[in-house]
């Protein structure tokens, strides 16, 4: 039996903001099942006393002087936006209710 079910795949897809057709779901049940089963190999190791390696480099608090530097213009910031009005990024309405 696969490590994960169609329900699991649907739940993870909703977390990941993906919508999958039936064929893709079926494929992922099998592929993710195999890959996760392979990953279970890690359970052979006792890691109770091992500190997780949270960072690639053990460095903390990289500071710089608190000086304002130049940044990109509004026009440049908006140049790649799918929809904008020259001032703001435009997205579909989020809050319910009548036009303000």
């Amino acid at each position: 039996m696969s490590k994960i079910s169609t329900n699991d795949v649907e739940y993870v897809a909703s977390l990941a903001q993906l919508e999958l057709d039936a064929a893709a779901k079926e494929r992922l049940v099998q592929e993710m099942g195999e890959i996760l089963a392979y990953m279970d190999k890690l359970n052979e190791l006792d890691t109770a006393n091992v500190e997780p390696m949270m960072h690639a480099m053990e460095m903390t608090n990289v500071f710089r002087e608190d000086v304002v530097e130049s940044s990109i213009s509004r026009e440049t910031a908006l140049q790649n936006a799918p929809v904008h009005d020259g001032q703001y990024f435009i997205v579909p309405r989020i809050l319910e209710g009548d036009e303000a």
């Binding site: 392979y38 990953m39 190999k41 910031a77």
Partner: protein
């Protein structure tokens, strides 16, 4: 006389600086070469002919006026699609970034431009650098110049194919689990992944932030040392870049490796390695021995867990990094949506390719409530065990030598049906990323099939000098003539 496009970067640089050839002549030679072979190799996603000639003319102007034209004067370079450039587009070979114009240049791009390099354009890759064959590109299929029925490797497949086919002097790639070294191996060129933190990641579109590094693919080791010297160093725009001096690595290429200890990890020379690849790599290690290195056996006992650790950590980080492609500030937005949630879902679902979706799904799963400890935390713990294996091995040796790839280039479609089998292509390269080490892939001959084989060398963190010295010594004494790939 050798055509300009067959010369190395340091040869071009010296000739341009001395005024013996103009950067414009060199650039034209490369553009002609691209025009001649691109239809066979399909390495380039964008060729910037006019812009390249403008940059070259500016270099020539500096030479004429007696100004310093820089350490990469007139060297034609190809950039992986994952590197941000104000010129042209930055697509990550994904439909989701089709038409994206970066508002800024990556730090490596800025540094190369300041050093007088000439950008020829951008080259193909697996979508968001996820893959080992460049078959996951949403743009085109790049072929291996040594055999057009074979993949160039990945994810920096366009970078490797372009160098191998003399369509650029140097290319930049990125390496998260082997994406510079494995294609360099499959295409017969040199590829180095620097130590994590050596090169700024500013302007490298993030895949797995604790593993990604930018590095050069080149025709020889001297070019790798030269390019790395130009692009490395602390960058205020990347907090994870190391605060260390940016040395001139070409000074390390002394040819003298007497007394250097070279470790052969017994776990990398098992039955799993085919006899032909093994013979090539063992012969290459013998060259180092003949040059005065001492070869010792070392052990990396947790090697067999590296792929599992890697595909948990890289997918987890990828799922977080790729959440930004939400169709708001840049990238594709699905035209037919009724609310914000649907905008996210439909945009991502329509524009990400299957491998990217698979990794987002895996990463989301291993980070999800109830599985975080079992997968992600566990992987971070085993990552430390892998790093400690290397710490112990480097008490007994200065360099570790392994194959780069278990096999030479494979045919299109050979591994696409089984993602796990494709993931196993990275078996020798991913440990260096997990342990943050520098690694280099060097051509070490041709297999009977006519395809290149390669040896991988690794060194202690931030010891690229020793790594490049050993690599250069091997290259100068191997007696191997790789020749040129058999494309017209």
């Amino acid at each position: 006389m050798t055509a300009w496009h067959e010369k190395t970067a340091h040869e071009i640089r010296d000739l341009v600086r001395r005024g013996e050839v103009t950067a414009v002549e060199v650039t034209k030679s490369y553009l002609d070469r691209i025009a001649a072979v691109e239809s066979k190799v399909d390495a380039y996603t964008q060729v910037w002919s006019d812009y390249a000639l403008e940059q070259a003319a500016a270099v020539d102007g500096r030479v004429r006026r007696g100004e310093d034209p820089g350490q990469m004067a007139g060297v034609p370079i190809a950039l992986k699609e994952v590197l941000c450039t104000q010129h042209g587009f930055t697509t990550c070979a994904s439909k989701i970034l089709e038409g994206f114009r970066s508002p800024y240049d990556a730090t490596v791009v800025r540094k190369l431009a300041q050093a007088g390099a000439v950008f020829l354009g951008k080259v193909n890759m697996d979508e968001f650098a996820m893959g080992s064959s460049t078959e996951n590109s949403a743009i085109k299929t790049t072929r291996n110049p040594w055999n057009l029925r074979c993949v160039p490797g990945g994810s920096s497949g366009g970078s490797a194919a372009a160098v191998a086919a003399d369509m650029c002097a140097v290319s930049l790639g990125s390496d998260t689990g082997g994406s510079i070294r494995q294609p360099a191996c499959l295409c017969g060129c040199v590829g180095i992944k620097p130590t994590y933190g050596r090169v700024s990641r500013y302007g490298l579109v993030a895949f797995a932030s604790s593993l990604d590094q930018i590095g050069p693919l080149t025709k020889d080791v001297q070019d790798a040392a030269l390019t790395l010297s130009v692009i490395c160093g602390k960058d205020p725009l990347d907090a994870t870049s190391a605060d260390l001096p940016a040395p001139d690595f070409t000074q390390a290429l002394t040819g003298d490796i007497r007394g250097l200890r070279v470790g052969m990890p017994r776990e990398c020379f098992t039955e799993a390695l085919g006899p032909e690849m093994r013979e090539k790599v063992v012969t290459a290690i013998d060259v180092l021995r003949q040059q005065g290195a001492e070869v010792v056996e070392v052990s990396l006992p947790h090697s067999e867990y590296a792929i599992a650790v890697y595909y948990i950590i890289c997918t987890a980080e990828a799922s977080a990094n790729l959440a930004r492609f939400d169709g708001v500030r840049y990238g594709f937005r699905h035209p037919d949506v009724k609310d914000v949630r649907e905008m996210y879902v439909k945009s991502k679902s329509a524009a990400f390719g299957p491998e990217v979706k698979r990794r987002i799904m895996l990463g989301t799963y291993v980070l999800s409530s109830g599985y975080y400890d079992a997968y992600y935390l566990k992987a971070q713990k085993v990552r430390r065990l892998i790093k400690e294996d290397f710490d112990r091995a480097f008490e007994q040796c200065d360099i570790i030598a392994t194959p780069t790839s278990p096999t030479p280039a494979f045919e299109f479609g050979a591994k696409t049906a089984d993602p796990l089998e494709m993931y196993l292509s990275d078996i020798y390269t991913i440990s260096t990323n997990l342990a943050t080490l520098p690694g280099i892939s060097l051509p070490c001959g041709l297999c009977a099939s006519g395809l290149p084989a390669a040896i991988q060398l690794m060194a202690r963190p931030f010891d690229e000098a020793t790594l490049l010295r050993a690599a250069h010594c091997y290259e100068q004494n191997s007696g191997i003539q790789m020749g040129k790939p058999p494309i017209a």
